[in-house]
Assembly symmetry: C2
Homo-oligomer: 192 residues x 2
């Protein structure tokens, strides 16, 4: 069992409807030592890919992507969820449904910060049905850049997002993959 | 002139309507070395305050708060802008108007992560009219905790947010305070 799986068993809370709450250490309150550890782990797994940019989506991906970008010494970009009046000029746009919020959003990245030269590592906190990730991949492809790695903190292995992305040939690594959860008995089983 | 003022002059873009675009290094694409520097600067200015928690608001405050929390070795929390189905239980809530997005939001922090024992450092990227900051202060007060410092990356000194907060007796430090901006001539003048 790795450091993250141990932490999930210690502090994660399983709720009905396959909800895993990790907001005491990952996506509301954040444990900076754990995030540093996650950044190092992604660096270990993708350091040979020639990565030039780290890409994530607001909001809970940002600190994780930053922790990762520090290890790579490369800039990070976060895709924004709605058009801000402070962003003008040309943008890459993709549609994303949110499983958590039951909403549909556009996500945008300024064309200035992704070019066809870029080798991109996509980072996010959760992967379930993969809608956010598909949007991010679509933005990288629109830029003519390449997706050279995808690093996920927690993957819900019983949903099909990860399988689809791997079937498409992407190099996707999740630090913890949950095989099953049981709210009744408060148990989490990881894929080995 | 400090490191941030130099960077703003080099890479910031002044737009009509007193808009300063710093999305090439601060709030869309992020320069991790600069963010590390900002975190260290806040640590230098508030390290004697006995800070126990770093609080910010999604989205662009998150990486800055994380860079700061690393230096303090304390957890960070980010206030969320809308009620997520993954957050239940008791929450502190405040109303916040967004100058940038022309919208009104509720921001929320779980009661689990702020207690009356906490000495809080609030961190954000921009301070203009101060609505977001007022909401964060209100949340800390509702928790019975104390606001022992407020660290802002860029303050628009010609708007009244900073003056109000300082008049109320808070220890507010901004790394760069803009006295005036001129889109016609692309100039930025800092408060010395």
């Amino acid at each position: 069992m790795n450091f993250l799986e141990e932490r999930i068993l210690k502090d994660g809370i399983v709720k009905e409807g396959n909800v895993l709450k990790v907001d005491s250490f990952l996506n509301h309150q954040m444990d900076v030592a754990l995030l540093d550890e996650i950044g190092k782990e992604f660096y270990k797994r993708f350091s040979d890919k020639g990565i030039t940019k780290i890409l994530t989506i607001e909001a809970s991906g940002i600190a994780i992507a930053y922790a990762t970008a520090r290890c790579f010494g490369m800039p990070m970009i976060f895709a924004k969820k709605s058009k801000s009046v402070n962003i003008d000029g040309d943008m890459y746009v993709a549609d994303v449904e949110s499983f958590t919020h039951k909403t549909k959003n556009q996500i945008i990245v300024s064309k200035k910060y992704l070019s066809s030269e870029d080798k991109v590592l996509i980072i996010d906190d959760f992967l379930a049905n993969g809608c956010a990730l598909q949007g991010l991949i679509s933005i990288v492809k629109n830029a003519g850049a390449s997706v050279d790695g995808i690093g996920i903190v927690i993957e819900k292995g019983f949903q099909n997002g990860g399988r689809i992305i791997r079937n498409l040939g992407y190099h996707l690594e999740s630090i913890a993959i949950i095989e099953s959860m049981d709210a009744q008995n408060s148990t989490v089983t990881f894929r080995s």
